[in-house]
Amino acid sequence: MTDRNYIIPPVDIYEKDDMYLIVMDMPGVDKDSIEVVAEGDILKVSAKALEVDKEWKPISKEFNISDYKREFSIGNRVNRENIKAKYENGILKIELEKSEIAKPRKIEVKAG
């Protein structure tokens, strides 16, 4: 098994008629390193970990903060022009507006 050097962050995903909301736990990253990119059918999210200053020597380590990576297949359900991301207190929130094709449609049924 290859040892990938990154963490897959846990996510919650919400849906509304007109949008999706992705909430990710991504503690310990540099805000400026966060990348949210829509590439083809895939939404790619990555971020780089913040290091503890070198003057602090680890004497016991139970976890490693390493870089984060996760990908979501968005197909044609998302409007690429309107993707918003916000990072606060270790949580990344991404708002995706649905494309017209993904919005629920009400079909008028005529009584005949």
Partner: protein
């Protein structure tokens, strides 16, 4: 007429599989109660993973030379939206650490930085042995 009563369920499952392109194999994972300890010239740092944790939900107590750390987080639920994938969960744990004699328990400080909890435990200023000069006659 053909009718598949499970159509909606199957459609939803396919949609989820497609929506989440996952690479779980070989990835790194961590638990929320994991702690790292660092030592510096002037003190120690206890580091925890604490995304979305409020400073008021962190409890630090010292008794008999043991430091107790309690961290709580309730996952905020967006009520007006449907939750279609749920991997994040509430946090509630207590860890304890034996303090070394050089820890200055009166000056312990906790800080949240980008979802990491950092507890600073300064070292006591070295008590220099008193020098007593005795005049020798």
């Amino acid at each position: 007429m053909l009718f598949n009563p499970f159509y909606e369920v199957e459609k939803m499952r396919d949609f989820m599989d497609e929506f989440l392109k996952e690479y779980l194999e070989g990835s790194k994972r961590y638990g929320y109660d994991y702690a790292n300890i660092y030592e510096g010239k002037d003190g120690y740092i206890l580091q925890f993973i604490a995304p979305g944790v409020d400073l008021k939900d962190i409890d630090i107590n010292i008794s008999n030379g043991i430091l107790y750390v309690n961290v709580k987080r309730k996952v905020e639920i967006e009520k007006e939206k449907r939750l279609i994938r749920n991997e994040r969960y509430d946090i509630d744990f207590t860890r304890s650490f034996k303090l070394s004699d050089d820890a200055d328990v009166d000056k312990i400080e906790a800080k949240l930085m980008n979802g990491l909890l950092m507890i600073y435990i300064p070292k006591k200023e070295e008590v220099k042995p008193k020098k007593i000069s005795v005049k020798v006659e």
